[in-house]
């Protein structure tokens, strides 16, 4: 082997090892940085769920950047001149190999150069290239390895995204499924129609809440709480409407006493206010045309005007004016009074229809909340790939009978009825078999339960309000949820038992306030009317189902 070959071969070997070591160092450095970024993002995902889209995009970018960095670092092979300089530096040869390699490339015929090359070849032959460039894993490689272990641990550890919530108060972004979009539209339409007929505060608040929920400006739980307030306003409207209906029935009976207003009275009794208004208008036209009113019309009008219930003041005034006109034989005044009465009836019809539409909208709202909650529950239980945004941080699995905030409890009512079953031991809880709000107050008094949430509690299965009767949904409260509920109920019972021993003063005050509620005042209403005024949150068709459920999960003593 010539001196030239010795030098070139040694330089090639050194160049290869230099390149390998350099690549190891570069890759280790780059990998440590990339893994650190990945660990950071994974850790952030534990605190703040980033969503599958963001995570997917990140991993794609991460891989692309890593690949690009690898390609960039591969670079050209180490040149022999570069290797010569490095060998000189590492072996402290004082540029002997650099000079020799340069002289080799010059092909100069000079004895001094030959001597230099010979000496350099001898020096290179004595070098241990492997010893000069040992395979050393740089510190960055250990950092990369540690980061990799951490990354694997973070990805395979049973930590759900968002398990640690840094911003518990932040409202989640709800990505509503398609069916909920339809519900949103339906509720909006109902509220628009109700507002067109008769604007009210309850409609305004309802619309605002709906908009917040639709724009994900409010969490589902918070929306349920706000819905409680809206439903209270709607319930008050229902009370008023019930009074109006009752009053109109009495007015109808009074008007039937006269031949002229018999049809109008019949219409009021049947609840057909439009027909009654038309009859009165026809009567006014006939009187205007010169027909003599019946002799008993003034008595009928006067008796009817005696029904001055809330909401009927205007109608009573008009009827009173009509009776007065008949007494004074002022037929023009009679005609105006009858027209005014018809207008009052039309206005009352609008109020009643508006209230009906609100009740329907409230029922749809319950259905909407159910749909959103069920979507969450299904996602968390079956780990079906739903949009992560639908899952709120810190949420527990909320089945229709879960004990989480706003969850339905046995015997819970809406707090607005004649709740009489107070202070009942939860272990003895049973649902009332009759309507009328029996046992409804328990929810308001159960320790740790918020009576304001009662409507929302029932929302899991039972739409509220009259005029709306969706199909029974029995699927949610079976199998796994039932078993989980058993455990939760046990815990809950323990808590309740301990808290019942030292009944909070606030709870006593609340019960006292409930007893003094104006709605518990003696009434001469018929049972049907009472039922209308005190709508049970648990319709009859669900009561047996719920009763069976709690019997099924009852713990054996």
């Amino acid at each position: 082997m010539s001196d030239r070959e010795i030098i070139i071969e040694s330089l090639a070997k050194a160049g290869s090892r230099i390149r390998t070591n350099r690549l190891i160092g570069r890759f280790a450095r780059a990998l440590s940085i990339f893994i650190a970024i990945a660990v950071f993002v994974t850790a952030v995902n534990i605190f703040i769920p980033l969503g599958r889209t963001v995570l997917g995009a990140f991993w794609v970018l991460w891989l692309l950047a890593l690949a690009a960095d690898v390609v960039r670092n591969l670079g050209p092979r180490t040149g022999l001149s570069e290797a010569a300089a490095d060998v000189d530096r590492e072996a402290r040869l004082k540029d002997e190999v650099v000079s020799a390699y340069w002289f080799l490339n010059q092909n100069a015929n000079n004895p001094w150069i030959d001597l230099q090359i010979r000496r350099a070849a001898a020096t290179v032959r004595g070098l241990d290239i492997r010893g000069l460039y040992p395979r050393i894993f740089p510190p960055a490689s250990y950092i990369a390895a540690g980061g990799l272990v951490l990354l694997v641990a973070l990805n395979f550890a049973p930590i759900e995204p968002g398990a640690i919530d840094l911003f518990p108060s932040a409202p989640p972004e709800i990505d509503a499924p398609l069916e909920t979009e339809e519900l949103f539209d339906e509720i909006e339409e109902l509220l628009d129609r109700a507002e067109e007929l008769q604007p009210s505060q309850s409609i305004e608040e309802f619309q605002a809440l709906l908009e917040s929920l639709e724009n994900s400006e409010v969490a589902l739980e918070e929306a349920e709480q706000q819905m409680e307030d809206v439903e209270s306003l709607i319930d008050e409207g229902n009370l008023t409407v019930a009074g109006i209906l009752e009053g109109l029935e009495e007015v109808g009976e009074d008007l039937q006493q006269s031949e002229d207003t018999q049809m109008a009275g019949q219409g009021l009794i049947e609840g057909n206010l439009g027909e009654a208004a038309s009859e009165l208008e026809e009567l006014a036209e006939e009187i205007s045309a010169g027909r003599e009113p019946a002799s008993d019309l003034d008595d009928a009008l006067r008796e009817a005007a005696g029904n001055r219930r809330p909401g009927l003041e205007e109608l009573a005034s008009q009827l009173e004016a009509g009776a007065a006109g008949l007494d004074s034989e002022n037929l023009e005044a009679v005609e105006q009074a009858l027209v005014g009465s018809a207008e009052s009836l039309n206005q009352l019809a609008n109020i009643i229809e508006s209230q009906r539409l609100q009740n329907e909208a409230a029922a749809r709202m319950d259905a909407l909340q159910d749909a959103l909650r069920e979507a969450q529950a299904e996602t968390e239980i079956s780990e079906i790939d739903l949009p992560d945004d639908l899952i709120t941080p810190n949420d527990e699995v909320q089945t229709p009978f879960s004990t989480g905030e706003g969850a339905p409890q046995p015997g819970e009512g809406d707090g607005t009825g004649n709740e009489e079953t107070t202070g009942q031991d939860m272990s003895e809880l049973d649902l009332p078999s009759e309507s009328g709000g029996e046992g409804g107050a328990q929810a308001g008094e159960a320790p740790g339960q918020n009576p304001e949430n009662l409507n929302a509690d029932a929302n899991g299965l039972i739409p509220m309000g009259y005029g709306y009767s969706p199909e029974i949904n029995e699927g949610a409260a079976t199998s796994l949820e039932v078993q989980l509920q058993e455990e939760l109920v046990e815990v809950m019972l323990d808590e309740i038992a301990s808290e019942t021993e030292e009944e909070p003063q606030e709870l006593s005050s609340r019960r006292e306030a409930s007893a003094l509620d104006y709605r518990n005042a003696p009434s001469d209403l018929t049972p049907a009317q009472q039922g209308l005024l005190n709508p049970d949150r648990i319709p009859r068709e669900y009561q047996n189902l719920i009763k069976e459920y709690f019997e099924a999960i009852r713990t054996e003593q």
């Binding site: 001149s81 004082k94 540029d95 650099v98 000079s99 020799a100 100069a108 004895p111 030959d114 001597l115």
Partner: protein
């Protein structure tokens, strides 16, 4: 052939060491100075020694001449020294026929080793009289040019410029010095040895161990040593870094330097590097050889600007910065 070259290198080293040993018999503690002077001699250059009076500069040169079988001349530069006093002049002489002729009378410059003692005490006019001799190795008087005998080696000493009665050397003359060596105070140990040698009887005297032809032979050996382009480029980059307002200029150069080193500086670096390589038994010049002599070779070739003078910047500081920032091959 290669064996002969090995022997030639060995002979070079032996001769160099012989002279050094002889000089070291008299001169104590100035190994680097002696090496520098001998490098200048072998590189066909001249050496400027700078130091305060009394440090043995003159003694060193006298000792060196004593170790070499060469003609030695000493010129004591004074303010009233005239160029003709050192170059020689034509004098009127009468021949046997009674005719009067102008005949050239050589001055002290006609020697092999010239000691220009306290060169900066003479006026620039007289100092410049050395220029032709140092560069061309000739002396021109009137219409006649006289070739100086080789080897021709000027060893000049100067006192620091801040001393009274001194004149700064012209830039052109400074550039002709291969090296400028600074003679510092000897160490305690060296002082003891100096005292022991000079305050007793039997003061050591150097033997003449090297003649002119041998020196010329050594010079040829130096020139034969090859230098690779990467190392030569390093020397070039060092020199270019002293040139202000050029792409290669160092930041300190741009700030403090008026004129940088000339190509003579690069020549000196390479020649000095070759000598140093031979002395270290190498037949190639390394960047380390260049770096080792950079200060001595370039310090007098870098001229400071007003700002550099005002801030009393040392040219050595600039060169050290350049050495620090210039990458080696």
């Amino acid at each position: 052939m290669i064996v002969e070259l090995d022997q030639q290198i060995e002979l070079f080293q032996r001769r160099f060491n012989l002279v050094k040993t002889e000089v070291s018999k008299v001169i104590v503690g100035y190994d680097e100075i002696i090496d520098g002077i001998l490098m200048g001699l072998l590189a066909r250059g001249h050496v400027l020694l700078e130091g305060v009076p009394g440090l043995g500069k003159t003694k060193l040169v006298q000792t060196l001449s004593g170790a070499l079988q060469l003609r030695f001349s000493r010129i004591q530069f004074t303010p009233d020294l005239m160029p003709a006093d050192i170059t020689g002049t034509n004098v009127i002489q009468q021949n046997d026929a009674g005719e009067k002729l102008l005949q050239f009378q050589p001055g002290p410059l006609f020697g092999n080793i010239i000691l220009a003692d306290e060169i900066n005490r003479a006026t620039p006019k007289t100092q410049s009289a050395l220029l032709e001799a140092m560069q061309e190795k000739t002396v021109t008087v009137g219409k006649e040019s006289y070739q100086l005998e080789l080897p021709f080696f000027v060893l000049a000493t100067q006192n620091p410029l801040e001393m009274e009665g001194t004149y700064p050397l012209p830039e052109a003359q400074l550039d002709r010095f291969f090296m400028k060596l600074r003679v510092d105070y000897p160490s305690i140990q060296s002082m003891h040895i100096i005292l022991n040698r000079t305050t007793r009887t039997g003061e050591p005297m150097p033997e003449r161990v090297l003649a002119g032809p041998q020196i010329l032979e050594m010079r040829e050996t130096v020139l034969a040593v090859p230098i690779a382009r990467p190392v030569q480029e390093y020397a070039v980059r060092l020199v270019l870094a002293t040139h202000p307002d050029t792409p290669e200029a160092h930041a300190m150069t741009n700030q403090y330097v008026r004129y940088g080193a000339s190509p003579r500086g690069a020549q000196a670096l390479v020649l000095g590097g070759k000598i140093r390589a031979l002395l270290h038994n190498r037949v190639h010049v390394s960047a380390e050889d260049i770096r080792a002599i950079t200060l001595s070779v370039l310090r007098h070739r870098v001229l400071l600007n007003f700002e550099g003078e005002a801030e009393q910047i040392e040219t050595d500081a600039i060169l050290e910065a350049i050495l620090r920032d210039t990458p080696e091959p």
